[in-house]
């Protein structure tokens, strides 16, 4: 316990807030098992997830931006024989990821309100379990606890795709599962290796230690495979379009907005602090892969006819920016990467929600079937337009800020990579505008399609607010994450001097 005081500020609130945020959805999920009636199930799930959001806002309000330690710490011994503990804590890197998760969960439940027609109880159960696991991943400061949450998420996600997915769900779900699990077993081996070297499973304890270079290389590779699959980085991305496309809307939103962030989170939390030398050694390769992802994702997007597939491939490109920022090893790059993670979570999540809305009406994801909605669904097109221009980083929207930070970071380190990523950013404009043009003006014929309902407006509005707020006034966000990243930066500098 005492060893933790160095980097962990214990929770001073009267209740263990992180545990509450993690386990309220789980409690709600268990409650669901005893309920009957579709409506009450939906309401319970919604209320559970809505309760969770103000709680996480409370974290944000009480968050101390002046410290680089982990905050709201909780500590309970779990398996003393192996020094495995239940340790929670958050810092600037994780706080917004948690907020993002708690914000998206009620939106996901709302967007599935009518879209999910069978096995509603199981669906809500999976969604709530997912929420628990995702928040748990970001809060855990113990390797094993982290790993348990990280893997526990696979099962509900697999079920979401496998049961409620599209026509090709069988292939997509199994590919998703095996791909991710394959990466994870190496993560586990790396975790054990770190444990045997340091004698602890505590993540902060393992950071910034003077491991041998060879050790770092191997541990980095094991970590990187797991995280690169999750991000997904270029050669490991093939599970993503399949899974995204086949998953139900809520599943796609969770996948795109939160699951992918776990990969980049892993790079920031594990690779950089635990294996700094290896990270720098492999940095150029990671940058190359990121740039390839940006360009490749852009070109593939240009040729898509399926809306969901297009957005899925655009995720590959966007996440390429995040990894590019991380491996630029600059403060700007990291801030940009973190903002980009948030932005991608909001924007891509919103785009998937939009596709879900139109899919419920036309039962098709093909661009042509949904084209020419400009006059039929004006409100919808308004939302869709905003999120599309935000997606290609139009100034005044959130992605612009993130990409700008990343580009500043990467240009100061590697001009060539910077140049190619600018090309990628242009491609983003090309494919998103093509999509937007088709959706708004693509067809002349009049069809009877109802415009958005109030429920749908309600769940898109918070995301609109975020897009605009972040676009014009990113300072509050940067302020919160700054201290943690500055600490990371200075620690890494110490290491190389």
């Amino acid at each position: 316990m005492t060893a933790f005081n160095k980097y962990l500020i214990m929770n001073t609130l009267s209740f263990p807030i992180l545990s509450f945020v993690i386990f309220i959805p789980l409690a709600g999920a268990i409650l669901l098992l005893f309920m009957r009636g579709e409506r009450s199930v939906k309401m319970t799930a919604l209320i559970t997830s809505i309760i969770n959001f103000p709680l996480s806002l409370l974290i944000y309000l009480r968050f101390d931006v002046g410290t680089d330690k982990f905050q709201f710490g909780e500590f309970i011994p779990w398996i003393p024989a192996y020094n495995i503990n239940y340790v929670l804590g958050i810092d600037g890197i994780t706080i917004f990821l948690i907020l993002l998760t708690t914000l998206l969960a009620p939106l996901c439940i709302l967007c599935s309100w009518t879209a999910i027609e069978r096995r509603v109880k199981e669906f809500m159960f999976c969604i709530l379990i997912m929420e628990t696991a995702m928040i748990g991943v970001f809060c855990a400061l113990d390797f094993i606890l982290f790993y348990v949450f990280w893997e526990a998420m696979l099962i509900p996600m697999y079920l979401l795709i496998a049961i409620w997915g599209g026509p090709n769900k069988d292939y997509a779900s199994i590919k998703f599962f095996i791909y991710t699990l394959f990466g994870s077993v190496f993560l586990l081996v790396a975790i054990i290796a770190v444990y045997l070297t340091t004698g602890t499973f505590s993540i902060p304890d393992a950071m910034f230690r003077d491991y041998g270079f060879n050790f770092q290389l191997w541990v980095f590779l094991a970590f990187a495979i797991a995280f690169a699959i999750k991000v997904p980085m270029f050669p490991f991305h093939t599970w993503l379009p399949a899974a995204h496309t086949e998953a139900p809307t809520a599943g796609s939103v969770f996948l795109a907005s939160v699951l992918l962030k776990m990969g980049t989170y892993g790079f920031l939390r594990f690779c950089l602090p635990i294996t700094p030398k290896a990270s720098v050694f492999f940095g150029p390769y990671m940058i190359a892969l990121s740039v390839i992802a940006i360009i490749y994702g852009g070109f593939v997007c240009l040729s898509q006819t399926d809306m969901k597939k297009l957005i899925a491939y655009s995720s590959v490109a966007h996440m390429g920016f995040a990894t590019l920022g991380i491996f630029s090893f600059t403060l700007f790059g990291w801030e940009g990467a973190l903002l980009q993670m948030l932005n991608h979570g909001v924007t891509t999540g919103a785009l998937f929600l939009c596709v879900g809305i139109v899919y419920e009406r036309t039962h098709s994801r093909e661009i042509y079937d949904n084209a020419g909605l400009g006059k039929i669904m004006p409100a919808y097109v308004g939302f869709f337009g905003l999120f599309s221009i935000s997606s290609f980083a139009f100034p005044g929207t959130n992605n612009f800020v993130g990409e700008l930070y990343v580009l500043i970071g990467i240009f100061s380190q590697n001009k060539l990579a910077g140049f190619f990523s600018i090309v990628g950013a242009l491609l983003a404009a090309a494919y998103m505008l093509r999509l937007l043009k088709q959706i708004v003006w693509g067809r002349e014929d009049k069809r009877e399609i109802a415009d958005m309902k109030a429920r749908e407006v309600i769940y898109l509005l918070p995301l609109v607010v975020f897009v605009v707020w972040m676009g014009f006034f990113p300072r509050p966000f940067v302020q919160v994450i700054e201290k943690t990243l500055m600490n990371l930066h200075s620690q890494m500098n110490i290491f190389f001097r």
């Binding site: 779990w78 398996i79 003393p80 024989a81 192996y82 199981e122 094993i144 790993y147 348990v148 949450f149 893997e151 526990a152 696979l154 099962i155 697999y158 079920l159 496998a162 049961i163 997915g165 769900k169 069988d170 779900s173 199994i174 599962f177 095996i178 699990l181 394959f182 077993v185 190496f186 586990l188 081996v189 054990i192 290796a193 444990y195 045997l196």
Partner: protein, 463 residues
């Protein structure tokens, strides 16, 4: 009084012996469950008793008593699964239960034996009972006869090899008591004779565990025997075998590099072979047989660490293995209406027909694959850590790769029951007892995954 668990199991069998002699045989089904609960209760109560019997050939310590409790638990669960009497001819039912009891008794004696001859006797008591029940299956066909003959022959051969190895041990140590052997054998472990003797002596337990190269029987016997018999053979005897594997490898005492290397090779081949062949299986019992071969390899990782942690991890893993395997087999038992074998395609649409069964199977399969928060993950984590700590990186990586391979066929079970739509959606009716048992198995697997500390501490004390 110290051997109450054994006595109660013996009594259990004798009761059924008498029932089998009588005319009215319907009381057997009624009696089996309460009696097995009593056996379990007594075994749990006797967990902290200690002492020695038969001039030191039979030792009661925490190690043996813990194993007896686990065996009794597994035995009790199997008896509870024996509900549908559509697998065994009504007339043979009391005998069937009796032989199950004798087999459990043999295993209980096995874990307490600390002398080579009593080990052999206990092992044979357990094996012979199983040889008899393998062919007991409704509808005589050649499959179960083939299975029983194979089981008998493989069993006899492995016993022969084991005795051969034991004779070498006797030649080295000039004693059949493990205590005496422990003083002499570590000195011989750097010579071929020591390695040879110990490996051969372990063969009998490799056979029970279905570890390479003694695994050939497993798929055929699993396929041929009735579902309940397979459930028993696949779980309970492996606990006894794991106990003796641990007890005998303790003799090597960390001085045998060659010995460890042999075990590493066996573990690696066993898990790789089991998982690769498991990928193409259609019959679920065969699939679980190959999964069992792979799991024997995982288990050996804990044993070959030759450390306290490793042994505790191995005990933990075999306990989890008992529960998760029982969960999978129970679904098969319930699913197979007329005692037929279940193939993978029969699972299609299971989540609609019986959500609880599908969930039980999913928990079992995910646990076998080693995914948190199930017990299979926690157990495997302990195994990996103990092997890694002793520097056996190679086997840990092979184990990790194997985990990734094996997920495919375990996930296939879940995939079939969840994402494939069935043509017929006739629901499967479950009785209250069956539901309860499903919940208990799910709970046990998850409990061992999330709350490992209490049990693990006991296991660490035991070794």
């Amino acid at each position: 009084m110290m051997i109450l668990p054994e006595l109660s199991t013996l009594l259990f069998s004798i009761v059924f012996l008498f029932i089998s002699l009588g005319k009215k045989k319907d009381s057997a089904g009624l009696l089996a469950r309460p009696l097995s609960i009593i056996v379990l209760g007594i075994s749990l109560a006797g967990i902290f008793s200690g002492g020695e019997l038969f001039s030191g050939a039979y030792r009661l310590d925490l190690f043996s008593q813990v194993f007896k409790a686990i065996i009794a638990y597994g035995f009790c669960l199997v008896i509870f699964m024996l509900d549908r009497q559509n697998e065994i001819e009504e007339a043979y039912f009391p005998e069937y239960v009796m032989f199950l009891g004798f087999s459990a008794l043999g295993l209980m004696m096995l874990v307490s034996s600390v002398e080579l001859i009593s080990i052999v006797i206990a092992l044979e008591v357990s094996s012979y009972s199983l040889y008899v029940i393998v062919p007991l299956r409704k509808g005589q066909t050649h499959i179960q006869l083939e299975a029983s003959v194979k089981y008998l022959f493989f069993g006899a051969i492995s016993t022969g090899i084991m005795l051969f190895g034991m004779s070498y041990i006797y030649g080295i140590a000039r004693s059949t008591f493990l205590n005496d052997i422990l003083r002499v054998l570590p000195g011989a472990m750097d010579q071929p004779i020591g390695v040879f003797a110990l490996i051969l002596a372990l063969t009998g337990f490799f056979f029970k565990l279905s570890l390479f190269p003694m695994h050939f029987w497993a798929p055929d016997i699993y396929e041929g025997a009735s579902n309940t018999t397979t459930t028993f053979i696949a779980t309970v005897p492996k606990i006894g075998a794991a106990a003796l594997l641990i007890r005998l490898t303790m003799l090597a005492n960390a001085s045998g590099v060659q010995f460890i290397n042999v075990l590493i090779v066996l573990a690696a081949i066993s898990m790789t072979f089991g998982n690769l062949v498991g990928l193409v299986q259609k019959d679920i019992k065969r699939l679980l047989a190959y999964s069992g071969i792979a799991h024997a390899g995982y288990l050996l990782m804990g044993v070959l660490a030759l450390s306290r942690d490793g042994y505790a991890a191995a005990i933990y893993y075999i306990t989890v293995y008992l529960f998760m395997n029982l969960a999978c087999f129970y679904v098969l038992v319930l699913l197979s209406k007329d005692g037929r074998n279940v193939v993978i395609d029969d699972l299609v649409g299971l989540s609609k027909r019986a959500p609880l069964l599908a969930f039980t199977l999913a928990v079992g399969a995910f646990s076998l694959a080693g995914i948190p928060p199930t017990g299979g993950f926690t157990g495997k984590l302990f195994l990996f850590m103990s092997a890694f700590r002793e520097g056996h990186l190679t086997i840990v990586i092979i184990g990790a790769v194997n985990t990734a391979i094996s997920i495919f066929y375990y996930l296939n079970l879940v995939r079939m029951s969840y994402s494939k739509e069935a043509a017929s959606t006739e629901p499967i009716q479950l009785t209250f007892n069956e539901k309860t048992l499903c919940y208990i198995l799910i709970f046990l697997v998850l409990y061992m995954g999330i709350v490992p500390f209490g049990l693990l501490d006991i296991f660490r004390l035991a070794v």
